[in-house]
């Protein structure tokens, strides 16, 4: 009996001593006081030193894109640190190119704020907000793809460019013990400022997609921040070539709805690549857009159509085959591509072969 008591007491005591020691150390050694954070040479914040730049910025309501939540595994949270960042850490090297290192680009989740610090971030990031949105409706598009409509909190608005994305936070749930953020392109039009629509595919064992497909229901609350991204509608008069596969349809949908809402008169062609008829979705909506938009054609193309299947009247083969077959050469064209890497690489090749200028091809790979 006394052994149990003594050992428990000894263990507790020793642990307590270490804990007190560490707490004292954290208060004294780990305390860097108030430091000055200067952003883009104009905005100044007085912040508590000691935490990472990413979380410091977050607490000032400035959101840097980050998919891993600050663990240094995604490499998205890059910012330019002009002064006070200290040397580049070994955890950052794998994510930085030589050019970025020369420009003082750092991973904000790895870099600690320990002294006055000066950083440079794109002006757009000031526009990024975090919302506690509510799921308003969930619509099943295919076996693996759902469209979700979120309502922003009363009185809050989001302004974004069609084509940009937001980050959805996947919280802890049974079977998931890490919080992550995942990027999804906005599918709704920017004219709807109080709503957001996302098209989300299910990936087996995906942390965020499992959360979306199995845990969210109408009325659920989710945390979304955004908008981010440099893939968006360009205000020119060029002919538009849009190409998407799978959930890559989302930003294209946003572009098209934006054009419809603003009555933009441009020629547009949308190539929607899928494997089988079951993988296509929102066909009625695109048909309707063909009627309402100025000069829009919807071109679905299937790569796995059964031999002798006569019910399918559209294009057959991969999207780049359809482009090579149907695209007329024209000086003034620009392309918007969204989908997986293999699709984008082969479509870029087909487009440049057709004379579309490489700098006029905008894409969003995932």
């Amino acid at each position: 009996m006394s052994t149990i008591l003594i050992s428990t007491a000894a263990l507790t005591l020793i642990t307590a001593v270490f804990a007190v020691l560490l707490t004292i150390a954290d208060r004294t050694i780990g305390n860097y006081g108030i430091v000055k954070l200067t952003i883009n040479e104009e905005k100044e914040y007085n912040v508590d030193g000691g935490s990472s730049l990413l979380s410091t910025l977050n607490s000032e309501k400035i959101f840097i894109p980050s998919a891993c939540g600050g663990k240094g595994t995604c490499g998205y949270c890059k910012v330019q640190i002009l002064d006070g960042g200290g040397p580049i850490l070994a955890t950052e090297f794998p994510f930085l190119t030589q050019e970025e290192m020369d420009n003082h680009v750092r991973l904000s989740c790895q870099c600690k704020v320990k002294q006055d610090i000066k950083i440079e971030i794109p002006e757009d990031l000031f526009n990024v907000k975090e919302f506690e949105a509510t799921v308003e409706s969930i619509e099943v598009l295919t076996n693996t793809i759902k469209r979700l409509r979120f309502k922003l909190p009363e009185g809050e608005e989001i302004s974004f460019k069609p084509g940009q994305y937001v980050q959805l936070k996947a919280p802890l749930y049974e079977g998931n013990d890490e919080e992550v953020y995942r990027a999804y392109s906005i599918a709704s039009s920017p004219t709807e400022k109080e709503f957001l629509e996302l098209i989300i595919g299910y990936i087996p064992e995906g942390i965020a997609t499992t959360y979306v497909h199995h845990h969210l229901e109408v009325g659920s609350k989710v945390t979304i921040n955004g908008p981010f991204g440099d893939f968006y509608y360009q205000d020119t008069d060029a002919e538009m070539i849009m190409v998407a596969t799978g959930t890559g349809v989302a930003p294209i949908l946003s572009l098209l709805n934006y054009m419809k809402d603003n009555d933009i008169k441009r020629k547009a062609r949308f190539y929607f690549g899928a494997k089988t008829p079951d993988d296509l979705f929102l066909l009625d909506h695109f048909k309707e857009l063909e009627e309402t938009l100025f000069d829009f054609k919807f071109i679905p193309t299937l790569s796995r159509i059964k031999e002798g299947d006569t019910s399918w009247v559209g294009e057959v083969g991969r999207v780049n085959n359809a482009i090579e077959k149907l695209l007329e050469e024209n000086e003034n064209q620009e392309a918007y591509l969204c989908g997986n890497e293999a699709m984008i690489d082969s479509v870029v090749k087909s487009l440049t072969g057709k004379g579309v200028k490489e700098e006029k091809i905008y894409f969003d790979k995932f």
Binding site: I6, S7, A10, I14, A25, I29, G30, L89
Partner: protein, 196 residues
């Protein structure tokens, strides 16, 4: 207590009783962080440093707290706690006062908390009933031996990059085979000194 010159223990810990090559302790970071000589050297230094410091702390805690109260059986849990706490503390101190060393070693320190070579050394010094000086020599020697082994492995792996390795053996597979060969080569040292 066995009467061995601390110097003998020091040499033995490096060559004949190498933590990795004769005890297979600390394999996780050994395999994971041995891709480049520079980083493995950094990790080796950090391991040596933590080994030396925690052996002192654990020696004092064991002989002046656990033994008087007959609590030797608590040594596993106490050693792990003290190693973890020490690594945390040293990380904070280094970050603030020796930033250069922190940037060189800093990221390896958290890895070391779970390096079983550290716990192994603390346990061996108790099991083998070393004196304070002997323990310290053993810890430093083990650290140097560990560093030597991981740097040697990193050198080999840098060259292996250019070799064609059978698909199924790529990465950890070939690394473990190389480690085995190195261990056999180290048996050659066993004539020098032996400790147990």
């Amino acid at each position: 207590m066995i009467e061995l010159n601390p110097m003998v223990i020091f040499i033995a810990a490096i060559f004949t009783n190498n933590m990795i090559l004769s005890n297979f302790l600390g394999m996780c970071s050994f395999v994971a962080v041995s891709k480049e000589i520079n980083t493995s050297l950094g990790l080796g230094q950090a391991v040596t440093f933590v080994l030396a410091a925690t052996s002192i702390i654990n020696y004092l805690v064991y002989h002046y707290i656990l033994v008087p109260y007959n609590l030797e059986f608590l040594r596993f849990i106490i050693f792990i706690i003290s190693i973890a706490a020490f690594v945390q503390l040293i990380e904070m101190i280094m970050e603030k006062y020796i930033p250069n060393l922190y940037y060189a070693l800093g990221i390896f320190l958290p890895l070391i908390t779970v390096n079983c070579a550290i716990l192994g050394v603390s346990l061996f010094m108790i099991i083998r009933e070393y004196s304070f000086l002997q323990s310290f020599a053993f810890a430093v020697g083990s650290g140097i031996g560990w560093t030597m082994a991981i740097v040697a492995l990193a050198g080999i792996r840098q060259r292996l990059k250019r070799a064609t390795v059978p698909k199924g053996l790529e990465g950890p597979g070939i690394t473990l085979i190389v480690t085995g060969l190195m261990a056999m080569a180290f048996i050659g040292f066993s004539g020098i000194v032996q400790i147990q």
